[in-house]
Symmetry: C2
Subunit: 146 residues, 2 copies
Amino acid sequence: MTQVDDIDRQLLSMLHADGRRTFSEMAPEVGLSVAAVKRRIDRLRETGVITGFTVQVDQTKLGLGIGAFVELSCTGSTPVGEIVRTAYRAPEVQAVFTIAGDPDALVQVRVRDIEHLQQVIDGLRRAGHVTGTKTLMVLGSWTRES
Amino acid sequence: MTQVDDIDRQLLSMLHADGRRTFSEMAPEVGLSVAAVKRRIDRLRETGVITGFTVQVDQTKLGLGIGAFVELSCTGSTPVGEIVRTAYRAPEVQAVFTIAGDPDALVQVRVRDIEHLQQVIDGLRRAGHVTGTKTLMVLGSWTRES
DNA sequence: AGTGAAAGCTCCAGCGG
DNA sequence: CCGCTGGAGCTTTCACT
């Protein structure tokens, strides 16, 4: 377990709101020098608290207008890694969560249209070990911004 | 619908892998000048394709070791906004997805421990209009990094 | 841990093709 | 739409507290 103090949390919160905020902008807000802020963020990266920086894209503007979650049920003998690897092969799959209980996995997908969704689901079902799926179509989503 | 060409897609892909990559680093990779890259990214922001930049944090290192999805079922008369607003009030809630069919919403949460999870679920159940919940505990997760 | 300053690099706005 | 250029601002490293 790594030591993360209040100033680190402040920095993480600022970067969460804007991942490109500059050190020189954050420094006065936390009452430290620019160099100190840089060292803290370098350390957060080295200790694995920060795993990376990324851009947030509105997928609907790229023609991937439909989101869905697919619950996968698998045969009892299927290893976890197998489930993930299989699902992950499809580029439409955004994330895979393995689950305790029923279902065995929750797969988040993003597709162009209903036909495309059908293809992706068919692909998941064809993967060996899958005994059943249930699809939850996303109508709207709200992700915490803070 | 906004025009997004192949170079834009390349830039988005690079920023997805590292949201702090500099314009001058990306420019030679796409064969454009620094100023042209900046103009494209500014435009992607203005047109709403890019909604922001953020930092990726390993929540387990911050003591929020347990993730879960809670499926919410609500009374038929409940408006969508009501569901979202209610769930969203709890800071443990990371994201809310409204769903077509059954369940009515999928709520992603992140908590310290099982007791904490119990509290959050109780909170969601107490919110008016909720007729039932089903909790999916996350054992592992893989998010596309590319 | 923290500061401050210098060198080098990046950004950005304006002008022109 | 693109590139070029100069001034401003940011990052990074260093020696030091």
